[in-house]
Symmetry: C2
Subunit: 385 residues, 2 copies
């Protein structure tokens, strides 16, 4: 396998983008990445998108976007793995360049989630759960994560306040991110007193419905010398693992097996230890998710994730800064774009361009992107060259 580096990144302001269509949103981010890299062509592209069929009645995104971007007839591949479709797009592009079949490849992600009415968003998102065993019986994602939260609270004594601490920290970080959908700060009281969605999770424990896209440009590492606008960022580890998508089939609701395995694979490929990681973007689709993920990655012992966030260990300047971008919670969660936006943040940190939310001396970053209630996980490790 050839070494692969990231030479360009692009992302638009996320939110409810009523004035833009799916193709507009993707193309805007993709063109920013191409411009940022300073490349005059791309050889191929990958697009992560979970639900454009149900959200806007459009599949066949690879061709649609390659054409609209002006890069047809290049090969264009859409990948889907629910909410980690973006992370999967990144890994697919990594494997593509590593194989030697292409030299310069765009990996993007997009979702337009606000163009549906009623509870169709909830239905579309629930297709990431097991339709026959979970959804048919009434399960929704807030409901599934609420089950995980209750199990974690019962087993480890995790508190309602500790869940809220995740939201407070991530909104603090997101308030320093100009691209975030909800760049405001919040408080423990605001989180705990917000409208209840699925006990114990309130509205402020949940990531929002978002329109948005992000894109990055990957390049064979031996060609990086031709693109010197920015420090090149090398992809040193990539891990991908699956688990049952139905919660009922798992031994333990308080732990994410796919996340642990994907992380171990990525660390092994990178030849690094967890203590080498300077910051990590994780998949905080709900506040409880961040706590369980930080434990499953191994940053904290099982059951200690709640205490860790409460004591400030995951803040910028703490033991291991988590979700400096604001995470899904504050930045937004256009499901297919989230995994690429994590890479966008990691590259921004490793370039030293993160401004007020910069992690000092960041050399190695990790991104963990997860589908459904952990049925699939992608973990990537990046290092500034």
């Amino acid at each position: 396998m050839r070494d692969v580096a990231i030479i360009g990144i692009g992302m638009n302001k996320w939110g409810e983008l009523w004035e833009k269509s799916l193709r507009d949103i993707f193309t805007e981010a993709a063109l920013k990445a191409i411009d940022d890299a300073g490349v005059d062509h791309i050889d191929a592209m990958y697009i992560g998108c979970m639900g454009s069929g149900l959200f806007v009645g459009q599949e066949h995104l690879g061709s649609l976007m390659a054409d609209y971007l002006g890069y047809g007839p290049i090969p264009a591949t859409r990948v889907e793995s629910a909410c980690c479709s973006g992370g999967l797009s990144f890994r697919s592009a990594f494997i593509d360049v590593a194989s030697g079949i292409n030299d310069i490849v765009l990996a993007g992600g997009v979702e337009k989630m606000t163009d549906v009415s009623g509870d169709n968003d909830t239905y579309a998102l629930a297709t990431a759960a097991d339709q026959e065993y979970e959804v048919y019986n009434g399960a929704t994602f807030p409901g599934l994560y609420a089950l995980m939260a209750r199990a974690h609270m019962q087993k480890y004594g995790t508190t309602r306040k500790q869940l809220a601490e995740v939201a407070v920290k991530n909104h603090d970080n997101g308030s320093k991110n100009p691209l975030a959908q909800f760049p405001f700060k919040t408080t423990i009281d605001e989180v705990t007193n917000a409208v209840m969605v699925a006990d114990p999770l309130t509205l402020m424990d949940c990531s929002p419905i978002t329109d948005g896209a992000a894109a990055v440009i990957l390049c064979a590492a031996d060609l990086v010398k031709n693109f010197k606008r920015h420090p090149a960022i090398k992809i040193i580890g990539s891990g991908h693992a699956t688990d049952t998508i139905a919660l009922q089939s798992r031994d333990d609701l308080t732990y994410l097996k796919s996340t642990e395995i994907a992380s171990q694979k990525a660390l092994k490929m990178a030849g690094k230890k967890l203590s080498d990681i300077n910051f990590c973007e994780v998949h905080d689709c709900f506040t409880i998710a961040e706590i369980i993920v930080t434990e499953s990655l191994g940053f904290f012992e099982r059951g200690k994730g709640g205490c860790a966030v409460e004591s400030g260990k995951t803040r910028i300047g703490g033991q291991i800064p988590i979700n400096t971008s604001g995470g899904l919670k504050s930045k937004g969660h256009p499901v297919g774009a989230t995994g690429i936006a994590q890479i966008y943040e990691a590259v921004t940190q490793l370039r030293g361009d993160a401004g007020e939310r910069q992690v000092k001396g960041a050399k190695i970053g990790m991104a963990q992107n997860m589908g459904g209630s952990g049925g699939s996980t992608l973990v990537h490790i990046l290092e500034v060259i």
Copy 2:
């Protein structure tokens, strides 16, 4: 890039599989392929599926299938490119093994299309066209291909009878395929007198709505010596190209640019000429599609595809046998599975196992799989080692 070979194939009987769910259908084909290869594990899997979200309310197929197959936590990736999702799954698995990241990889495709009511099938399939420029204005796929047929008839004098010849030939071939959905023979009169769908295309010019799956096992060529059940089949060429997905944006409705480019790429990688190809599976979603595809691949001059089928050049024993499996027309067209089923047929031919429909002395085969009205195309070339 490492050389890659196919060591196992699996497919179930296609049709209206009311008694089986999406996961049953896929798993059946996948287990057949694993059994056929004689492998005791797989390192990763790819699944081509176009519309499971709209057809059965289920996304996140990679994890679902890896788990149900009993192979979790392996990496599992779902790819989508409309009706060539299967071909894209195959290419993705090829790149994966070629990169060196995995040694033994399953590439599968599946679609369950009969579990919807009313005209929801037509809506789900139309998401492969341009929602904003075509579908919103009333276009359906039979309508789009009818436009292409009328243009071809006007420009080249292609006749109604020549379109019917495609259906007659493919049903002749399909009648010898025990896995085909409609393994009956038909006649010119039956095709031309069938109920009109979109003038000039009758019901018998259209591929059917089908439930089905297919799977193949890919392996690094240097490991093939460990699996000797069957002659190994080497993947010598892979081409992938895109075009506008909206017909309105094309210069010429009688030609498929993505097919020509993908074919040229595959031939170049293989170091072969078109005259080296002994047979070809093509994407005959409608009878006119086979005619235009055989021209765009270069087997016949533009405008001569209709005469070619009428004169028997594309029959088994003819100049270049096309769709020995029965094609989409007779075998069925579960859209995400079709591209893999083409590989299944090509391997069957190259192993010499095609029985009554065997192409004598077949050494090199080609498969062309297409999305939408040609917005994307995958072309693969296989050679028996």
